[in-house]
């Protein structure tokens, strides 16, 4: 067992974990943050995307011990839940119907927030490229791209995590 201390969605947490434990497992099984989902076994789908020290990573391809001393933001910490508000990108996905079954959505939103932080005014092609690590089996991507572009317009690019 290895001791880790980190900040998850604004709260300091510490635990003893097996070094082989994946960050996504830690989030789901130890912290109960099941908003972050696992969609594949090969680090291809991006459903598990979270932010590690402010940039997007696939949490199935990071060990929990590698997050020691760092800050993790999941889909559950993106908006101020206590205030009952959604993050502008979450709102945008709802307004533009950027989902069908919703399984890819947490990862899509986390990646979209990262994309817009780096490039506040992306073109449609830049959105498609920037989201290439996130797979969706339902939508055909059309409304996902629309949601990201809408979020960029709505906030005049001022999106942050």
């Amino acid at each position: 067992m290895t001791k880790i201390e980190l900040t998850v969605d604004g709260a300091a947490v510490s635990d003893d974990v097996e070094p082989r434990m994946l960050l996504v497992q830690y989030l789901r099984e130890k912290l109960g943050k099941t908003g972050t989902v696992i969609g594949c076994d090969t680090s291809n789908c991006g459903a598990c995307t979270v932010h590690l020290d402010g940039t997007s990573v696939k949490s199935c391809n990071v060990l929990a011990v590698q997050a020691n001393g760092r800050t993790v933001t999941t889909i559950e910490g993106l908006a101020d839940a206590a205030e009952g508000e959604l993050h502008p990108v979450q709102e945008s996905f709802r307004e533009c119907h950027g989902l069908q079954c919703g399984f890819c959505t947490p990862g899509m939103i986390m990646q979209a927030v990262d994309l817009l932080a780096e490039n506040p005014h992306p073109s449609e092609e830049e959105v498609r490229l920037g989201m290439e690590g996130n797979l969706c089996r339902c939508t055909g991507y059309h409304n996902i791209v629309k949601s990201v572009l809408h979020a960029a317009d709505k906030t005049a690019g001022g999106v942050s995590a």
């Binding site: 070094p19 696939k58 391809n61 990071v62 060990l63 590698q66 990646q111 990262d114 290439e132 690590g133």
Partner: protein, 281 residues
């Protein structure tokens, strides 16, 4: 699936990491960004008893100017290589190729040194490093040595790095102001190329360097094409003629993505495109 149990070490200096590697030998594995190693461990294709994480060694991260070369620390991420101003100025080809590696999330974690040490013949950074004449600085129990790019890539997933050694940094001779392009042919977004071509040119065209990805068990230089390009004017016809030589002497693999002769055809076509784009045509 999750990996088999292992012990985890997080050294904070290269010396400490080398000592751990010396102590555990074959039972240990180095962890850099983990973007290749963790999938391997999760599929249980490998089961080291000890994993030595280089993530806590800050001296291995960053890019610096060193006179006639820029030096890229092994733990610098693909994302940082892509965006770095020294890289853009003096080794534009690496910035272009790093932008084509995997996807945004993986580029935030995966490292320059890790990708080169992994030596996947379909990896996107080997051919540009080879084309630019990179020098690999490797630390071991006996001190530090430098390996030329032409000696670094030995075979599929095999480099000149010894079991008791760590790649610490890579020196890239400056190619200041050279145009560059990385032309990658893929079937699926964010995946490894079926074939890719790394081209960088001085003037239009005084000199050219051309590297090939996935055209053999290691990255290759298209030397016949490079020679034919020297002094050619950067027009469609001149460049395409030189590009016809790009697959000469290669022995690419045949697999589900393409047969060997198809890959040779791709190498010729993609070389033409890459060189023209590099020359700004």
């Amino acid at each position: 699936m999750i990996p088999v149990k292992f012990d985890y070490l997080a050294p904070t200096s290269v010396e400490e990491a080398l000592a751990a590697l010396g102590e555990h030998g074959d039972d240990a594995k180095i962890l850099a960004g983990g973007q290749s190693l963790l999938p391997v461990l999760r599929m249980r294709l490998n089961a080291p008893e000890v994993v030595i994480d280089l993530g806590g060694i800050s001296s291995l991260r960053g890019i610096r100017d060193d006179g006639d070369a820029i030096v890229i620390g092994a733990m610098t991420t693909h994302h940082d290589v892509r965006d770095d101003h020294l890289v853009k100025q003096h080794a534009l080809l690496l910035s272009k190729a790093a932008a084509e590696v995997a996807d945004s999330q993986i580029r935030h974690r995966g490292t320059f040194g890790g990708a080169l040490a992994h030596a996947d013949p379909a990896g996107d950074l080997g051919a540009p490093a080879l084309a630019l004449g990179a020098q690999f600085v490797v630390a071991g129990p006996g001190g530090t040595r430098t390996v030329e790019a032409s000696d670094f890539f030995v075979d599929l997933f095999e480099t000149a790095i010894g079991d008791d050694e760590i790649l610490t940094e890579v020196r890239i001779p400056k190619h200041t102001g050279w145009g560059a392009h990385y032309e990658k042919f893929v079937r699926v977004a964010h995946q490894w190329p079926i074939v890719a071509v790394a081209a960088t040119v001085r003037g239009s065209i005084d000199e050219a360097r051309v590297g090939l990805t996935n055209m053999g068990s290691t990255p290759l230089r298209a030397t016949a094409t490079e020679q034919a390009l020297a002094g050619v004017s950067a027009t469609e016809d001149g460049v395409r003629e030189a590009a016809q030589l790009a697959a000469d002497g290669t022995h690419p693999p045949s697999d589900l993505n393409g047969a060997a002769d198809y890959r040779q055809h791709l190498a010729r076509v993609l070389t033409g495109r890459a060189v023209l784009r590099a020359a700004g045509v």
